[in-house]
């Protein structure tokens, strides 16, 4: 006597910028279970990395994700640096922080815009993306490219940021912060938004840990875990404290990201204030040999690279675990019990990046 229906959600859906399919089993309007299907954008990057030289892989791994390209390159370069036993210069470390945080900032802007769009707040979506454009212009000026900035290299960075540009970054950040002050309250205090996010897609702290959630999904459950606490690059010297919220619902996840925007602005300012002089590139020596794991914090959460090298100029194995890959099981746990109309909001609340996930 069951009147259950199965509705395929995606892979093409107005709120999904990337293809993931969820097979939703519904009892009337309520989701009973969800099974995710990915595999629409698998590119075989891990295999391609075995074919290319380890120095060329920097440009390959940047293409795992267009939104946080620099952070992928950073994670890879740090792993190779560990294997070759070299260390980036202090200035390079600070430059890496600056570019990483700008990437996080623009990624969170992108997500906030898409999140607003999921409720049908199109004007707000444009406001966020207009802000983001100011950040993209910084990349254009400092790195020479808007999206895949290709400035990270094994042993440091490929480009320096001049004092003129540093001042420009500071000015832009002032403007971005001013705009954030105007736009963020709309998404955080609006009656409709609250109605559709508070208590929706809730998971408990235990569930989040058990299902291996990463990044803002984990921190929205009060778990203060952020890979930046490991103190890679110059984060150890910047006095970093992770942002946490306790409710574990869509609203808490949005709030974590909103607060991280301000945190990133502060981190960039601090990094620019403390930026030391000096060389930007340490020459690598020898070829990588051994196995190493490198972890950094992406806008979406913890990114893990496992490298196995045998002393030739090609890697034996490169394993990439992206945060969305870890956040799909929590998503499956969030969906049962929610209304069909809330599914888009919940899916967006983990900030899915499917191209990352499948590599």
């Amino acid at each position: 006597m069951s009147n259950r229906t199965v509705i395929p959600f995606g892979p093409q859906h107005p709120v999904l910028p990337e293809p993931i399919q969820l097979k939703l089993e519904l009892q009337d309007e309520t989701v009973v279970s969800a099974i995710p299907h990915i595999g629409y954008v698998h590119r075989g990057i891990e295999k391609a990395a075995e074919r290319m030289e380890y120095t060329q892989n920097v440009f390959l791994v940047e293409r795992v994700c267009g939104i946080c390209s620099f952070i992928h390159a950073l994670c890879y370069c740090q792993a190779i640096e560990q294997l070759q036993n070299i260390e980036a210069s202090p200035r390079a470390k600070y430059l890496r922080v600056i570019w990483s945080e700008l990437h996080r900032l623009h990624s969170h802007h992108l997500w906030l815009g898409l999140f607003a769009d999921a409720f049908g707040y199109e004007s707000l979506f444009m406001q966020f993306w207009r802000n983001r454009e100011m950040l993209m212009d910084i990349f254009d000026k400092t790195a020479g490219s808007r999206v895949i900035i290709s400035t990270c290299a094994i042993g440091g960075t490929r480009r320096d940021i001049s004092d003129v540009h540093l001042q420009e970054i500071l000015d832009t950040l002032d403007e971005v912060e001013k705009q954030l002050d105007k736009t963020l309250p709309v998404i955080l205090n609006d009656y409709t938004v609250k109605k559709r996010t508070v208590g929706i897609g809730k998971i408990t702290r235990e569930q989040a840990l058990e299902l291996g959630a990463a990044g803002p999904v984990l921190r929205a459950n009060g778990v203060a875990q952020d890979m930046r606490q490991l103190g890679y690059a110059a984060y150890g010297e910047l006095g970093f404290e992770p942002v946490t919220e306790n409710d574990g619902d869509c609203y808490a996840r949005a709030k974590v990201r909103a607060r991280e925007c301000y945190q990133s602005v502060e981190l960039v300012r601090k990094a620019i204030r403390q930026l030391p002089d000096g060389e930007i590139l340490t020459k690598p020596k020898g070829r990588p040999k051994g196995q190493v794991i490198s972890r950094v914090e992406q806008p979406r959460g913890e990114l893990l690279y496992f490298l196995s090298a045998d002393g030739t100029n090609r890697l034996d194995r490169l394993r990439i675990r992206t945060p969305t890959f870890a956040n799909v099981p929590p998503l499956v746990a969030m969906l049962p019990g929610c209304e069909l109309a809330d599914v888009p909001v919940i899916v967006l609340s983990i900030d899915p990046c499917i191209s990352c996930t499948e590599r």
Partner: protein, 117 residues
């Protein structure tokens, strides 16, 4: 509310009048690769460094073939070239109807995959 209305009425639009006003291209931008084969010694360093395998150097024939559509504009070739033959131009590659290789043998030639110019 009234402030918003007034400021939106009298402020400039957020967008550009696109075809009339182009976005200014930043200095040091990695736009597209520009070859200058006059000083080239055909050492092949650029082809070796290229992560996308977009460059082929034929030393005996003194020929450089550059696949514009494989290029990822990373500027590795420009860094590798000791003769300063490769520069990153301050303009982006233009769209095209056909995928063409750029062949340099003396004068740059544009050919498509079949070798027709």
């Amino acid at each position: 509310m009234i402030n918003n209305v007034l400021s939106n009425l009298f402020s400039k639009p957020a967008t550009r009048d696109f075809p009339a006003k182009m976005r200014e291209i930043a200095e040091n931008v990695r736009g597209s690769v520009e070859f200058n084969t006059e000083n080239c010694v055909y050492c092949g360093a650029c082809a070796l460094k290229c992560p996308a395998n977009a460059i082929e150097v034929d030393r005996p024939a003194k020929k450089v073939t550059f696949d514009l559509y494989k290029c990822v504009a990373c500027a590795c070739c420009a860094e590798a070239c000791r003769k300063g033959c490769i520069q990153m131009a301050k303009q982006y590659a233009h769209p095209s109807y056909r995928k063409m290789d750029v062949v340099f043998q003396g004068e740059p030639l544009l050919t498509d995959a079949n070798g027709d110019s």
